[in-house]
């Protein structure tokens, strides 16, 4: 089996280029980041972060968890499009989207572990201590279940790689059920992450606080997922072009335009929903304040602008413009989640939070490990290509 796997992966080819600029940078990041992670676990949050009782949530929750979950939404968005709505044309980018989603969630859990400490307590809400009245209990169960679902969604690629035909038949038969479970769980927990902030009506700035915040989180996760699939598929089809199936032509430009059209329509609706959020609290006057200007930058520069860029790009068949709009949208999602969890949270206290260098380096380390894992899997498993013996088996 090992020989077959090596043949499929072109093992000698991938081993030929070990010293590349990316690998050098990755090694430097890991050489600094891993000792810092050990330091954080050995000495606690107080020694490694600028978190405090006033500001208990910082970069790791805002970026690693909230942003990571939103940008990992491409998995359920694409899986439901392909398997439930029958848009089979998008199958060539589906496995990469599911892998991005799975790894995104996996490293969300890693980020959460670094934030929480005491990793042995991670299974508590699932197996030992049921805090059924807590939103965090809901989030813990959703992440646990959805991570399992995403592993099942990606497992056909693992089975094909290992040549496990019987197991492949079994996991393929679960596809529709697993996809439905994935959509249900994603809908619930994307909005549940927003619902966490319903508990802070006085701590969260009124422009970001709204009774619609669970809806904002869910709708924006669809946008983040679509944009992330465009960015990720463009990058992976460029970086891993030797992994693409030469016998199967993929119209990546056409798929990008289709995804861009969907993103523009959802962004359009999302923009008006954000306006409804302001109208609901009648907070128009707050727009003329420093944080109000920042809110306007978020909704005009990172929601309305990419919305029109997507629309113009799709209409003019300009794939480059759609890709640029996707990058802008991904940045917008990052800004939104950091605004909600860091910038606009505790906006009225004097002791404002800014992440320490160790928090930043740990975040960069986790992202680097995620990218290295993605590359390791794509270089070995049928993510961007299909093995001839399994063509048409799914």
């Amino acid at each position: 089996m090992d020989e077959r796997i090596t043949q499929r992966t072109g093992g000698s080819h991938s081993r030929a280029k070990i010293i590349t600029p990316f690998n050098v940078v990755a090694v430097i990041i890991l050489a600094i980041g891993i000792p810092v992670i050990i330091y954080r676990f050995a000495n606690g949050l107080g020694a490694a972060t600028n978190l405090s009782n006033t500001n208990p949530w910082g970069l790791w929750i805002g970026f690693d968890v909230l942003t990571g979950v939103a940008l990992a939404a491409g998995g359920y968005v694409l899986a439901s499009s392909v398997y439930l709505f029958g848009l089979r044309d998008y199958y060539p980018v589906l496995r990469a989207a599911i892998l991005t989603g799975f790894l995104g969630y996996f490293f969300v859990v890693v980020g959460l572990l670094v934030d929480l400490g005491q990793p042995w307590r991670l299974p508590y809400p699932v197996f030992y201590s049921y805090g059924v009245t807590s939103v965090l209990f809901l989030v813990a169960w959703h992440v646990f279940l959805y991570l399992t679902v995403q592993f099942l969604e990606f497992s056909p690629a693992v089975c094909e790689w290992l040549g496990w035909k019987k197991v492949l038949r079994w996991v393929t038969s679960l596809t529709i059920g697993v996809t439905i479970a994935g959509v249900v769980l994603s809908t619930l927990h994307q909005s549940a992450l927003g619902a966490l902030f319903l508990m802070f009506p006085t701590k969260l700035h009124p422009l970001w606080y709204s009774q619609f915040i669970p809806v904002f989180f869910f709708i924006s996760s669809i946008i983040g997922g679509l944009a992330m699939v465009i960015v990720e598929s463009s990058l992976s089809h460029s970086i891993f072009r030797d992994r693409l199936d030469p016998e199967r032509h993929v119209d990546l430009g056409g798929l990008t335009l289709g995804l861009g059209k969907a993103a523009s329509v959802v962004l359009f609706a999302y923009f008006f929903l954000k306006l409804l959020g302001i109208a609901d609290g009648n907070h128009w006057g707050l727009l003329n304040t420093p944080l109000g200007y920042w809110f306007l930058v978020e909704i005009l520069g990172f929601i309305l602008l990419p919305c029109f860029l997507f629309a113009f790009g799709v209409r003019a068949n300009n794939v480059g413009l759609v890709r640029f709009a996707s990058i802008l949208t991904v940045i917008g999602i990052v800004i939104n989640r950091l605004n909600v969890s860091v910038v606009a949270l505790n906006w009225n206290v004097t002791n404002r939070y800014f992440p320490s260098w160790m928090e930043i380096i740990i975040t960069i380390t986790i992202i680097t490990i995620g990218i290295l894992t993605f590359r390791w899997i794509v270089n070995r498993m049928p993510v961007l290509q299909e093995y001839p013996e399994f063509r048409g088996a799914h």
Partner: protein, 44 residues
Amino acid sequence: MPYEDIWGMYSAKAMEYIIAVVFLFLFIPFWRFVNKKKETIQHP
């Protein structure tokens, strides 16, 4: 309840309805715009 407060409450609600109606009216041309591909002129 003072007269101004009643109107204040209604104006907030009215704004929500206005936003919803404006969205619906703008969504139609936006949808048409996104779905209409630019015709490319083909030269012989």
